[in-house]
Symmetry: C2
Subunit: 191 residues, 2 copies
């Protein structure tokens, strides 16, 4: 998506060969006009898939997921990263390793909110090594729900998870795919 | 707000005299139609306040904040609860004690995203003892920004933080105020 690529070039900060900071418009401060256009792009891509629920993961996926759920007029569901005292034990869970935080989290959703009759659109901000998306896909399959597809804002194409998922027949729609980043020159190469 | 009170009565679970579970429509699964109506109510309440930014806190405030920011067409900013390696050290911070998790978190926003010229609307899901909202207010005052007001989904009126904030002259708009909950009878008394 042209607008997202322009935001990345203008406001993104290349902090390493695989670290891109987009806190100013996507990850901590969220540009609402851009978010609206992104959600519309995912809606157009998946509108004929019979989506009944949008699934994302806390925290930075929630803003994206909310706007997509609004376009589809279906519920948003977000996986939590740790069990809180207010959550019942009736959970689907999956293990997710975070390369950003260098630790393994258990992600979970209440079994009441994901059903075999659901057709789920997964939304997340980044796709790199695919840990989070594969964890979310595990939750979907644990519920015997169907996967409509995966909508990603920024795919790190050089980390290959997107290509692996597509090779498995999964409909992955990334709005920007980065094939190369150079922290010295700050250059970003889009696919 | 009548619709929110109806959802609380129909789907909320009273787990203790001060614990209300609303995971099925507000906190993990989010009902988009309800969210839209809630955001509209806050927009109507604060639309003449010159709001330039919506501020919330991860994770469960983000869905609410996103829809409110969409109504106002201003950026959403969410405070993070822990420092990640992608965040700079250029932060406004505040300490917040969580009665749910029984621990103290540091919440933080990047100084670049909160300015003295901002007029900030704080949005959160619950107001109980006021720890999170007061932490967010600390971030706003640290930036010398102005506070437009505070929009809360569910205020636990019996825990008094809302009344204390109003007594300080802060414009707190809670869409539902609960004055009493009875875990034995499951009765909920609204103000």
């Amino acid at each position: 998506m042209k607008e997202l690529e322009e935001y990345i070039l203008k406001y993104g900060k290349v902090l390493g060969t695989d670290i891109l900071k987009v806190d100013s418009f996507l990850n901590q401060q969220i540009d609402i006009d851009l978010l609206d256009k992104m959600a519309t792009a995912w809606y157009e891509a998946f509108k004929n898939q019979g989506v009944t629920k949008v699934l994302t993961i806390e925290a930075s996926g929630i803003a994206l997921g909310t706007m997509v759920a609004y376009k589809f007029q279906v519920p948003l569901l977000f996986a939590k990263k740790s069990k809180t005292i207010n959550m019942s034990d009736n959970l689907y869970t999956a293990k997710v390793f975070s390369f950003t935080h260098h630790d393994t989290n258990t992600i979970a959703v209440d079994k009441n909110y994901l059903k075999a009759s659901d057709k789920v659109l997964i939304i997340d901000d980044f796709l790199a090594n695919g840990q989070a998306v594969m964890g979310l896909m595990t939750l979907v399959s644990s519920a015997n729900a169907k996967l409509a597809g995966v909508g990603i804002a920024i795919e790190k194409g050089f980390q290959k998870a997107g290509d692996l998922l597509r090779a498995r027949g999964i409909n992955v729609m990334s709005l920007a795919i980065i094939d190369q980043m150079n922290p010295a020159t700050k250059e970003i190469v889009f696919r």
